[in-house]
Amino acid sequence: MKPQDYSETMIELAGWSVRLTTYKLGGRYISKADNVSPGANFAKAEGVTKEEAESRVMEIAQRRLGRTKTMPI
C-alpha cells in the first residue's frame, strides 16, 4: 500500500503553533499533530475522510495543549 494525499497544514490551537500532517493509507486517513517547536508529535487520529481525521486530531490536540502550563521566566 502506498501513502496518498499527503499534506501538512499549519494552524494555531490553544495559543500554540501546530502542524497537522495527514495522509491516506490502506483506505483510512491518518492525521498527526506536532507542536512545531520542538516538533514532537503529540496527537494522532484516524478517519474515513481527511476532514474526519483532522477534526478528531484537533480535538485531542486542543485538549492536551490546554494542559500545558506556562511559567514566569
Binding site: P3, S37, P38, G39, A40, F42, T68, M71, I73
Partner: protein
C-alpha cells in the same frame, strides 16, 4: 559546498528502497509513536520500541549489553550487517538507537535521511507484513562511554569554560517558559537550562522535508553559537533522544572529535535537588 565529514552514515530513501531486502542489510524502524510501525513500514524492516526494547525497563538506562546482543540477533543482525535506521519525528529515536549501536560497537549503522516522514511524503510503498527474520549471532563490544555523558561530567562542565554545553530543546523549554513540549506531560520540577548552555534547537539542523541541512549550513549554524569543535561538546535535551539527533550531526556530519550525549538530560537535571538552573536566554558570552 563541502561534503559531510562522514557521508557514509546517511542513506537516501531511494537507497533504502533498493537495498532493504539485501541479505547484509537490515532496515529498522524506531519511532516516538510506537504504534507507527504497525500502521505500515518499509518492506523487510523490523520495528524496535524505544520504551521497551531500547531501555532498561527497571532502572533508567540504556539496555544492558546482553539484552542488546539478543535484540540484534533476534532482528537478524550480525556484526557485519549494515543497519539502516529510520523513524518518525525526523529520526529522533532512530538517532537514539544509532547512538546505542555505537556505544556497543556496531561498525556499520546509518540513518535514512528524512526518516519516515520523507518516505511517506514521497508516497513510497509500506506494508503491514512482518519480515521473515533468520536469527543471527551477535557479539557486542564496549560499552563505549566516550560518546555518553553522565551527571558528574555535566556538573563539572558547568563550572568550566573548557566544555561546551548544547541544549537542543525549543527556546520555550530552554528559557523555562514551559516544562515540557506543548501537549506532552510535564516530567520535571523546574524549568530552565543548565547554566552556560547554548540553545541550538535540534530542528535547525533539518530541512522542511526532514533531511539534514548541508555541511556548510550546519557548520554556520553551530559556529554562530560558538561551537567549533575546539572544545568538547555535551548535547542534551529532555530525555536524550533529540540530543542524539544533534550528537549525530555534530559527530558524523560535521566531524567533531569529542561530542557526547547527556541522556539524563533535563529530566535528570531539572529534578535534581540543589542543581543550579539558569532561566531566560543564555547569558551573554556564556
Amino acid at each position: 559546498m563541502a561534503d559531510y565529514a562522514h557521508p557514509e552514515v546517511l542513506v537516501s530513501t531511494d537507497w533504502a528502497a533498493q537495498h532493504a531486502g539485501d541479505a547484509k542489510v537490515r532496515v529498522v524502524e524506531v519511532d516516538v509513536d510506537t504504534a507507527a510501525y504497525d500502521e505500515g513500514h518499509i518492506a523487510n524492516a523490523v520495528g524496535w520500541a524505544w520504551n521497551t526494547q531500547l531501555c532498561d525497563t527497571v532502572r533508567r538506562d540504556i539496555i544492558p549489553k546482553d539484552q542488546f546482543e539478543k535484540l540484534m540477533a533476534d532482528s537478524g543482525i550480525g556484526n557485519d550487517t549494515t543497519v539502516v535506521l529510520y523513524g518518525d519525528n525526523n529520526n529522533w529515536f532512530a538517532a537514539w538507537a544509532l547512538w546505542q549501536l555505537k556505544i556497543y560497537g556496531h561498525k556499520d549503522v546509518r540513518l535514512m535521511n528524512g526518516g519516515r516522514k520523507k518516505w511517506i511524503a514521497e508516497g513510497r510503498e509500506l506494508t503491514k507484513d512482518a519480515p521473515k527474520v533468520a536469527k543471527a549471532s551477535y557479539k557486542a563490544s564496549g560499552p563505549d562511554y566516550s560518546i555518553r555523558s553522565f551527571l558528574p561530567e555535566v556538573q563539572k562542565a558547568t563550572g568550566s569554560k573548557s566544555v561546551e554545553l548544547v541544549d537542543v530543546r525549543s527556546p520555550d523549554e530552554f528559557t523555562g517558559k514551559i516544562l515540557a513540549p506543548p501537549g506532552l506531560p510535564e516530567t520535571c520540577q523546574r524549568g530552565g537550562h543548565i547554566p552556560g548552555a547554548s540553545n541550538i534547537p535540534w530542528a535547525k539542523a533539518c530541512n522542511d522535508d526532514g533531511t539534514f541541512k548541508n555541511y556548510d549550513e550546519l557548520k554556520s549554524l553551530y559556529e554562530a553559537a560558538g561551537i567549533s569543535g575546539k572544545k568538547p561538546v555535551i548535547a542534551y535535551c529532555r530525555i536524550g533522544e533529540r540530543s542524539s539527533h544533534s550528537w549525530f550531526v555534530l559527530k558524523y556530519l560535521l566531524g567533531l572529535k569529542d561530542v557526547t550525549n547527556y541522556d539524563g538530560s533535563w529530566t535528570e537535571w531539572g529534578n535534581l535537588v540543589g542543581a543550579p538552573v539558569e532561566k531566560g536566554a543564555a547569558a551573554a558570552g556564556a
